[in-house]
Symmetry: C2
Subunit: 564 residues, 2 copies
């Protein structure tokens, strides 16, 4: 007879521990307990049921207890809640939710994979029947049914994280009027404020009413009220303001809880009781760039933790180098991906850093479906070690971010990125890949070959009457430009040097930063001492609602409701 | 007055040297000589003019001498052939092809970027007017015009490399009958024979007549004849059998030529004359996995070499760690990408290695456009150092290969791949990415956790009457299976252990290898000693024409004309 492995929670982490343990030990007795009716469903796909992209909700359920039993000889007990861990006896107390009966089960190894639960603020109306959260298949089926049977037309989604944004998108695709309310000044915290503007535009352009800098105050049957006093019509309300690790069971058993409020584990994902492992959204993990504990509610890391925990039960060590956090989202016509630190998290952590923001084409320009890709690279200063990156565009941004994730994993630097030999075909990319391109710009910056200011500083420049050169051609300039920029095209500047002052700083932009870079380098070479490239250039300027009053000749950009 | 930089060849490498030199030195005199009428065109996009994907051939020309002059103060002299280098005098002799006049030009630094020219075998008819090669915009315009004006319906493309395959695809898309003739037993040498089968099928399924193991013998106006005596109707013939570096100028100047027949350069891309640099398809580079000189006709490396050469003129050192070779192709509905060594090149080089072949989904299975991705990972044995990878599928295979290219760059191992934290969203990938998945399988193999045979060995197994288990469910088995495989589904094997022999090796496959892997591990655990997983599994078996007679219940696969 083999070991007895008992698992609490039957979704990503729990199911993976079970399957791996079975592969390592055909004789083990493996039991998986799940409070809900389903094991092994695709969490991340839940929102897509709302739009009908996943029409049959049963497809969200990847496995069932019968298949677990037949294929893997794993017993999956659904609708059974583990209510207590008796560490001394090495047993758990279980409540059968169908019969309300209690029973005990022994274990050799216990694995906690209870996940995290959506937060519910203590507000008026929060328990109304039109208020939903999204955690499992039952939740999404209930919401979907409510919307259909009540013929709901107006929805309010509270919270602009992954789940909130994906739910807003899918409700919009289903034809509803959708408001998305976010307390902070941007959605999707893996992205910096400048990059998030693109996501804001994408939401607004597709008809989602985006309300930033505002929170939920109360809920009624037909509307919600925000902190600022605004009333928003909503027949259905989705709470997606965050999740809290499920730690009750662990806490009551006296297991150590970490400083982030999640279950503390060691290198091998053992809790403070070595017979009890914990994996997934309920644990805290080590952030290898911030060098401190963090929480990370992502499926990929949960699968790795699960495998490592199962391996350790059988004496197989696994390297645990901590996490960096890599994620992606498909949002209407855009893809967005991020890894590691962004400029904000690096700054908050006090890590000396700098960043570059480039907007090259994602494919050879003359090929079909070639589009600009917004790419921001964050690196440690002055070492050039890569800390993170963000990419947003219609093309395959995730390819570029995965490359950065690989480079961070191996402690790579700007020089490594620059040297990378990446695949290229005109239908799929460019000979100088976005990643190489960003590295070249970053190297110029790191080596002090030129100076730059960030696109976000443009308002200060304009308001202080700085000398700004728009290096695009005349036609481009005329179709929209910064109000007080002087148009000196790259193709003309050598004959117009007299117009460029030497007694004050000069700031240069073009469309994507390529031509202005050439002009900056030339002027530096000619002995000008105060020449700055505007990182992000006009493509960057042109995503900011904030710059509406600074740009002539363009349609007013609206990126959210209560923009000041 | 600055340096005088003179460049021979105005396409990718040459134009990049010029632009970089300008950025480093506003005072430099920079002259670029180009024999043809165009500078800076997109080589790799040339074939797409044939199908009309790039309708206007002038769009293939990215820059012109006027823009070079105005934007960069670079003099681009087209239709001027550099005929001699006078090293002692530091001058070149130039022939103005418009006037047939000769003149001299001095240089401080000379850069050779002459490229490589298509090979023309010495055969009957090779100089007929219906025979074309593809090197530049003029070539592709000529061929396109010929096809239009002569109303050509039948084309023969000779050579199954990148250019040959892309030309065949684009002619097919233009509505022609296309035959593709390749001397070797497969197209696209970056791919192993097993992976190439998928490309063969894609070509054949889209109506390209693929003729392998056969060469061109002679050409007439309406047909070609192959070495095997076959006549193929063809009103237009495209020669794409390979390229030869343009070394004449360098050789005549007494510059050292390397063992590969290309110009030899040092770390900084200087030839044996330190005032003369050489970059691009005409030089030989160091292969960092094979540790020997090689030739690499790819745009990305040429751009890097160009920058490094220009930098070095100005005292800026650049790291040169050699090349690994990364490439991709879009072919009808498939994408294919490869990096580093494949199993064949590793074997030829005598590098101890092993490989895994997995076929996971490229996205979450229930999402739209989810498809299997064929992925082959090659690693050094027994270190686990990653040597290369190949991926083919409808999804973004290049993303996975770029990650592998990054890992190779930093000398990563299977363990590093396994740990990678890659981005995930159900619309874009899977929680356990293809790359992670392959690494887990490779680790199992490296650690001797189980044994496997390659899918290519299946014929031997069948012909030697080996005991093969098909671990799929009954319905799957019935819809097509290996003739003598025994159907014992993973879901039943524990009750049918009596049917599994202990006195002979047992080989197991399922659809993609996941279920068979679980059965292999279970049997190993139960003490069976001779259990093998069939790598590639049924999805792999099902791409081989070679296995037509071994598989019942499937349509006969045809992947090329003279298959034996």
């Amino acid at each position: 007879m083999g070991k007895k492995v008992v698992i609490v929670g039957g979704v990503a982490g729990g199911a993976s521990v079970a399957a791996r343990a079975r592969r390592l030990d055909e004789h083990a007795e493996i039991i998986m307990f799940e409070k809900g009716p389903h094991v092994s469903f695709s969490n991340c796909s839940l929102p897509y049921h709302l739009s009908g992209i996943v029409e049959d909700s049963q497809k969200l359920v990847l496995m069932n207890p019968e298949i677990f039993k037949k294929r893997f000889n794993i017993e999956a007990r659904v609708r059974q809640e583990v209510v207590k861990i008796n560490r001394k006896e090495k047993t758990i107390s279980v409540k059968n939710l169908a019969t309300s009966e209690y029973y005990e089960e022994t274990y050799d190894h216990l694995v906690l994979s209870p996940g995290a639960k959506p937060m519910r603020p203590n507000l008026e109306g929060v328990n109304n029947t039109n208020v939903f959260t999204v955690r499992n298949v039952v939740d999404i089926e209930k919401m979907h049914r409510f919307i259909k049977t009540e013929k709901v037309q107006k929805a309010a989604v509270i919270g602009g994280g992954f789940i909130g944004v994906e739910v807003a998108e899918n409700l919009k695709l289903a034809g509803l009027d959708v408001s998305l309310v976010e307390f902070a000044d941007q959605v999707m915290t893996p992205f910096d404020y400048d990059m998030a503007q693109i996501l804001h535009k994408e939401l607004v352009n597709h008809g989602v009413e985006l309300i930033l800098n505002d929170g939920l105050a109360k809920i009624s049957d037909t509307f919600i009220e925000t902190n600022s006093g605004r009333k928003i019509e909503a027949d259905v309300v989705v709470l997606a303001i965050g999740v809290r690790p499920e730690t009750t069971l662990a806490e009551e058993a006296g297991l150590e809880i970490g400083e982030t409020g999640a279950i503390k584990v060691n290198h091998h994902y053992q809790t403070s009781d070595q017979n009890i492992y914990a994996v997934g959204d309920a644990i805290e993990v080590h952030h290898r760039l911030l060098n401190k504990p963090t929480r990370l509610a992502l499926a990929g890391p949960a699968l790795k933790q699960a495998r490592a925990a199962a391996d350790h039960m059988y004496g197989i060590p696994n390297r645990n180098e901590g996490v960096i956090g890599s994620s992606s989202i498909h949002l209407f016509d855009m893809n967005a991906a991020a890894t590691g630190l962004n400029a904000r998290t690096a700054k908050d952590a006090g890590i000396p850093h700098d960043s570059v923001y480039v907007i090259p084409g994602d494919k050879v320009g003359l090929m079909p479906n070639s589009n600009p890709m917004h790419f921001k690279l964050v690196y440690e200063y002055p070492t050039g070690r890569i800390l993170g990156a963000q990419a947003i565009g219609k093309g395959n941004v995730d390819k570029r971010i995965d490359v950065i994730a690989a480079i961070i994993k191996l402690n790579g630097t700007i020089e490594d990125l620059k040297d990378l030999e990446l695949t290229y075909s005109p239908m799929l990319g460019t000979a100088r890949d976005v990643v190489n391109h960003a590295a070249l710009v970053a190297e110029n910056q790191l080596y002090d070959l030129y100076k730059e200011v960030k696109v976000s500083q443009v308002r200060d420049l304009v308001e202080s009457n700085a000398f700004i050169i728009d290096a695009r051609e005349k036609g481009e300039y005329q179709s929209g430009h910064l109000k007080n920029a002087v148009n000196i095209p790259l193709s003309e500047f050598r004959d117009r040097l007299g117009e460029i002052p030497t007694d004050q700083p000069v700031y240069i932009h073009c469309r994507s930063g390529q031509r202005s870079y050439n002009m900056v380098m030339a002027l530096n070479n000619l002995g000008y001492e105060n020449i700055y490239n505007i990182s992000g250039s006009y493509l960057g300027i042109n995503i900011y609602e904030y710059f509406n009053d600074l740009v002539s000749g363009r349609e007013k950009i609206v990126t959210h409701y209560n923009f000041k």
